[in-house]
């Protein structure tokens, strides 16, 4: 009797383990299929000219060099604006935000995370593009920063809250003022998590198209100045993909592969620089 209950339990246990393993496999399999498909479709069109040249009329080759630079410049500026504000806001929410102001900020940040990104684009269009009377890399970067801030703020808050209270008390008990506890104990302890949140936000904005359509527009030339319209990989992919010719579709796949590879590279770099040392 005991034996049979034991066997039954073992059977259910292995069934459930198998079921969750199957779900895990399914989740990763879809991702691998997408990546594999992009790689297969895109790889053949990638060559040096494609990576360095500017777009040309259909049939004359051309490439996405200016789009890579444009995406890089806008992501960089968006991160320079968005990460400090987002991380700062997250620190406030976690350490001092248990009041009506913190609750309001938290609610609005959650709302902003859910706002479709095209609305952010329209907002920045009225706020930046209209006064400047033209689309620009600056406007694009601001739109991306606005998308970043609430994501970074909320993940930073969550990560800082995970730092055990006992660690804070240990530092307070040594006569550390509150700001030093936050700065030298809590922040380093949460650094890996904060960096992961930052990375997710960077990956997210690297893939945004809609907010750039109104703000950065696009450019057929190399442009290193934030006051001019700027090309980006995502908008370029959109243009390629909506074009009528197979050559353009081919280039869209190749540009997608480049975009995914760059996001992967950012991921690996951030992981490397924020790995746990202690």
């Amino acid at each position: 009797m005991n034996e049979s209950i034991h066997n039954r339990r073992k059977l259910i246990s292995s069934m459930m383990t198998g079921l969750t393993a199957a779900c895990a496999f399914f989740a990763i399999a879809i991702l691998l299929m997408i990546l594999g498909y992009i790689a297969v479709r895109g790889f053949s069109a990638i060559n040096w000219e494609f990576l360095t040249d500017t777009p040309k009329p259909v049939g004359e080759g051309g490439g996405i060099g200016n789009a890579i630079i444009g995406s890089g410049l806008m992501t960089l500026l968006a991160s320079l604006i968005g990460l400090p504000i987002g991380i700062g806001a997250g620190v406030y929410l976690a350490e001092f935000g248990d009041n009506w102001f913190g609750n309001t900020v938290r609610f609005l940040a959650d709302t902003l995370i859910g706002v479709p990104s095209i609305i952010v684009g329209i907002f920045v269009y009225t706020l930046v593009v209209l006064p400047m009377t033209r689309q620009s890399g600056l406007a694009g970067a601001i739109a991306l920063a606005i998308i970043m801030i609430p994501i970074v703020a909320r993940t930073t808050e969550e990560m800082i809250r995970l730092v055990p209270k006992s660690m804070r008390e240990g530092a307070l008990a040594l006569g550390a003022p509150q700001w030093r506890v936050t700065w030298n104990i809590v922040m380093p302890a949460a650094a890996t998590g904060i960096a992961t949140g930052a990375m997710l936000a960077i990956a997210r904005i690297s893939g945004e198209t809609a907010p750039l359509l109104f703000t950065a527009l696009n450019s057929r030339f190399y442009n290193y100045f934030y006051d001019q319209p700027m090309s980006s990989l995502t908008v370029q992919i959109y243009n390629f993909a909506t074009g009528p010719f197979e050559v353009e579709h081919q280039m869209a796949w190749a540009a997608t592969l480049v975009l995914v590879a760059l996001i992967l590279l950012i991921n690996i770099l951030v992981r490397f620089f924020t790995r746990k040392r202690f």
């Binding site: 055990p164 660690m167 008390e169 240990g170 307070l172 006569g175 202690f278």
Partner: protein, 252 residues
């Protein structure tokens, strides 16, 4: 014996719940005073009023008076940061920082700007680690992570960290409750050694431990201080019936 800390008519509230009732007690200088009592009796809460650690709890409220060296630590102009430097604390669960052994001890010295040079910093760290009887075990791996130490070593590291800022009082909140008997013994020997230089208040669940390390013992129950006496008297002929019931194991 001169008293280092005088507590009179201390009431403590968590919101509407009163946790301490009219506690008055003198903690003598350079002695070990043990605080015993059943779980939830308020002994940890009491200990945390002495370095104002309860300030971190928004709903906490204190009434009454606590004097350290004759100064009211709850006076409005008290510098809490300076108070906590003078009144160090060791917690129930060891809580090293995610840094190297060296940096753990250096932290308090650095934030209080106590060292004059790098050599002075190193000397202070060596002294603190020797005072906490950890030096011989860690001197060859000061730059490795504090999390690589055993539980008992981590707790002694936390004691070293507290001693490095040269406090006058050391509060210990069940410092050995999570440790094995050998590590516990080391901590206890250390406590007895430390009273030559420091005033020590130690909260413990373990009555044998209170008997072994302390000069005086205070017994708490349900937020009230029931009895304070020299440890020897407390454990041989307690005055109060409740104390006797508790230490003979009839409850708690």
């Amino acid at each position: 014996m001169k008293s280092k800390i005088s507590i009179s008519n201390l009431d403590f509230y968590y919101g509407k719940n009163q946790a301490l009732f009219d506690v008055s007690v003198e903690i003598p200088e350079r002695e070990v005073m043990a605080f015993i009592g059943p779980s939830g009796c308020g002994k940890s809460t009491f200990l945390r009023t002495l370095n104002r650690m309860n300030d971190t709890i928004p709903i906490a409220r204190v009434k009454g008076e606590i004097l350290i060296d004759g100064k009211d630590i709850y006076a409005p102009k008290t510098d809490v940061v300076a108070l906590r430097r003078k009144v160090g604390m060791v917690f129930q669960k060891s809580n090293p920082f995610p840094k190297s052994i060296f940096e753990n001890v250096a932290y308090g010295i650095r934030i209080n700007r106590m060292h004059s040079s790098k050599a002075d910093l190193e000397a202070r760290i060596e002294k603190a680690l020797k005072d906490s009887a950890l030096w011989d075990e860690v001197k060859d791996r000061l730059n490795t992570s504090a999390f690589g130490l055993s539980g008992g070593q981590q707790q002694r590291l936390c004691i070293a960290r507290a001693l490095a800022v040269e406090p006058e009082v050391v509060l210990m909140d069940e410092p050995a409750s999570a440790l094995d008997p050998i590590a516990t013994q080391k901590i206890e020997e250390l406590v007895v050694e430390l009273k030559k230089k420091y005033t020590i208040a130690i909260v413990t669940h373990n009555m044998q431990q209170a008997a072994r390390v302390s000069d005086k013992t205070a017994f708490f129950m349900l937020g009230k201080l029931i009895e304070v006496n020299p440890t020897q008297i407390m454990f041989t002929s307690p005055e109060d019936k409740l104390t006797e019931d508790y230490i003979t194991g009839r409850f708690g």
